[in-house]
Symmetry: C2
């Protein structure tokens, strides 16, 4: 047995649900389905019950106890009715039901130790006729069920465990990685985990797969997998270039030097304020940190806003001459926008180039405006008037501590949170944040692919 196969066998053993777990799942699904059928019977319309997701397809990882049940209502059902039916069925079938909202409301709860999502959808004829994003799921499920052999299901589990280990699993907007459906399509495409890794190691993005040869729709993403059930959709649309590169990097590593390690996801140990200070000393940089109450929104809203805000602040610091080296954001009870700068202080004067002298009216206006002022100049440089006048912000603290921070492009909820107040830490003072963000700092100061 090759070293690679030995690793795969060990990991597979660990992540394949055992017979007890399978049996527990089956009985939970049966019981739930019965309860849902009874609840649907009380409704004025028919509803087809479909189990979907990895537990339906046998591709779930051991101890990942999610049950997804969809109730498919006739396509001519009024949307408000569909929502009402969905919630009513959910409340009846799941005693501790909580309502959640995606494109429309659904119900989530616990049943026999499993996390259950109970989702109403439209029973459309094919995936291109969907009325709501969730209507697509039963088609995905049917497509995969038909094609995934038990051997392929094993390889799907290996690939998912690998993506989790390297931090690239999940199409949520915090991770921007590979969804379950995408992972299964890729294993199917290559016919197995190892073949997929060998393929990915040599990808030269943009990489395009079109399992059902749908044809011509084109996408701008580094990885394109045309949805077999919907020619207009790239299943990998959310996958960031960085996660494609991450898969490539770790695929090469695993093939070169097989090991169980990349299949195990683990946060690094947090580092403390002293360690942060030591890094800053060694790097000779100046950090600035904007810290505020984390807005009370779901992660799929929060992380895009944090990224947008971080980018807004870093761009403004760059535009103002403070030369960001690197930056990061993290969120717990409080959230931080952290930018490490190369420049901590700039002159009090700033060069301001005026018009060419030959543009008479404009040039004379410029000259007269500055001739008797405090600025240095006007003088000539290459045929233009130039002055050196006061710089607006000589330190990053002046820039981020005043109204200017609200002029940059921030996420809506982040902007509101900053309006309620924020802490600004510049230089070594920022090291104290290690108490709150020690793991994020560990990742930042010991970065890996």
């Amino acid at each position: 047995m090759s070293e690679f196969d030995a690793v795969a066998a060990r990991v597979s053993d660990r992540v394949t649900p055992d017979e007890a777990e399978r049996e527990a799942l089956r009985s939970a699904v049966d019981a739930l389905t019965g309860r849902i059928r009874d609840a649907v019977a009380d409704l004025p319309v028919d509803g087809r019950i479909v189990q979907v997701g990895s537990t339906a397809r046998g591709t779930w990882l051991a101890d990942d106890r999610d049950i997804d049940l969809f109730v498919c209502f006739p396509p001519d059902t009024d949307r408000a009715d569909l929502e009402t039916y969905g919630l009513s069925v959910g409340r009846t079938a799941l005693p501790d039901a909580r309502e959640e909202y995606a494109e429309h409301p659904y119900v989530t709860g616990e049943f026999h130790g499993f996390d259950v999502d109970l989702v109403p959808c439209y029973d459309v004829e094919d995936a291109t006729a969907i009325q709501s994003a969730v209507d697509r799921t039963p088609f995905h499920d049917a497509y995969l069920r038909e094609r995934l052999t038990p051997e392929l299901a094993t390889d799907v589990r290996l690939f998912k465990a690998f993506l989790m280990g390297i931090g690239a699993y999940g199409s949520d907007l915090k991770t921007r990685g590979f969804s379950g459906y995408l992972s299964e399509l890729l294993v199917l495409e290559y016919g197995g985990f190892e073949a997929l890794l060998r393929g990915a190691a040599d990808w030269r993005p943009p990489v395009r797969f079109d399992p059902e040869n749908h044809g011509t729709e084109s996408f701008d993403d580094p990885l394109v997998v045309i949805d077999p059930t919907d020619p207009t959709r790239n299943v990998a649309a959310v996958c960031a270039p960085e996660n494609v590169a991450r898969l490539q990097h770790y695929a090469r590593n695993l093939l070169d030097d097989p090991s169980d390690e990349p299949f195990v996801s683990a946060d690094p140990d947090p580092i403390d304020a002293d360690a942060v200070r030591a890094h800053l000393d060694r790097r000779g940089t100046t950090p600035v940190a904007v810290v505020f109450e984390t807005p009370d929104i779901v992660d799929d809203q929060l992380y895009p806003q944090l990224r947008k805000s971080l980018n807004g602040i870093a761009s403004e610091l760059d535009r103002r001459g403070f030369k960001p080296v690197r930056s990061t954001t993290a969120a717990g009870d409080r959230a931080v926008l952290f930018v490490e700068l190369a420049v901590d202080e700039l002159p009090t004067v700033r060069r301001h180039r005026g018009p060419p002298v030959h543009v008479r009216e404009h040039a004379t206006g410029f000259y007269d405006a500055y001739a008797d002022g405090d600025a240095y100049g006007p003088f000539l440089d290459d045929g233009r008037y130039v002055v050196e006048r006061s710089r607006e912000f000589s330190t990053p603290g002046e820039l981020l501590g005043g109204d200017a921070i609200f002029q940059v492009a921030l996420g809506t909820h982040v902007e509101r949170a900053l309006e309620d107040g924020y802490e600004l830490l510049v230089g070594e003072a920022a090291a104290s944040l290690a108490d709150e963000f020690g793991v994020a700092f560990a990742r930042y100061f010991d970065p890996t692919p």
Copy 2:
């Protein structure tokens, strides 16, 4: 009389040579011509003696006592013979003759209190047939003599005095301004000093004059005056954009608010080290100064080399992240390359972007080279490997104090002078240079057009 005319009359009075000066000049030229004629008579070839330049055309400024005499030899004279003849005539005619070198040797000396240049040239048929740059001069002279009325000669003197006052007179490579010939052509073109100023105030470079309608030759310079005696030559080729702009600026000023002041050139008072320090404090900048023995070469070689060296050093400081604000150079017994910086210290790490991960061989090589080293990373950014490795120079002193200074584009003689040793002053220490370069600092810290 308009205020402008009153100023012009006063200045004209001051700069027009009086009858005594004219008479002294005439008699000196006559005596010299006789001596030259005798010396030429001893040569085996004929030589035509021509007086050229502003004293020949009556456009010289009072007390500007230059006599230029050319001896024109037959065009088939061997160049070595021409040089021998020129020197021999010069030595005979001018007792205290010194040899100078332009394109070929000539003789310079004093005679009756006048500075005399005695130049051998070829007596060619027209200016396009010249064998040496100086052969052109007699044609320039003839062209202007034919056209300059006494009224125009007065206006030429006004224009020259004005250009001197604003620091834009002279086609030497320190000034890069307006030559005497160019000044006279411009006055001729506009028909007078005031008309020229009104015209220049509205110039929109590139400005082109072609007094003899020679036609199509095109030039890249902001000001183009096609030589009436040579269609291939732009008389204003050496004139820097800055000096064109300077003329425009002061022309507008003089027309708006006539005054004798711009006709008087005066160095500013030197400033002292305390004043320099006060400016640096107010500006919040960090100066660096490289000081060395001024190379023993003529100004037309020295200043281009100083500019090239200053530009080389400032560009390298810029490339290395120290953000030059402004710079200058000056020369006395020692020369200085002075660059004022916005950034005096940079981090010890520097971001280094590697290849895209998908370029497998190159990417793997990059990763392996850095994976076990001291650098931060490799980590991923937008699909590429990135590391943060040691920066070569964290301070401008490290950059300019070591071998790196010899890697930048320096003038040849400046490079040699630096090899013999130089002083490097960073920050406030540079203020002490005010003792040597007080006038240059006065111009630098109180810049005017």
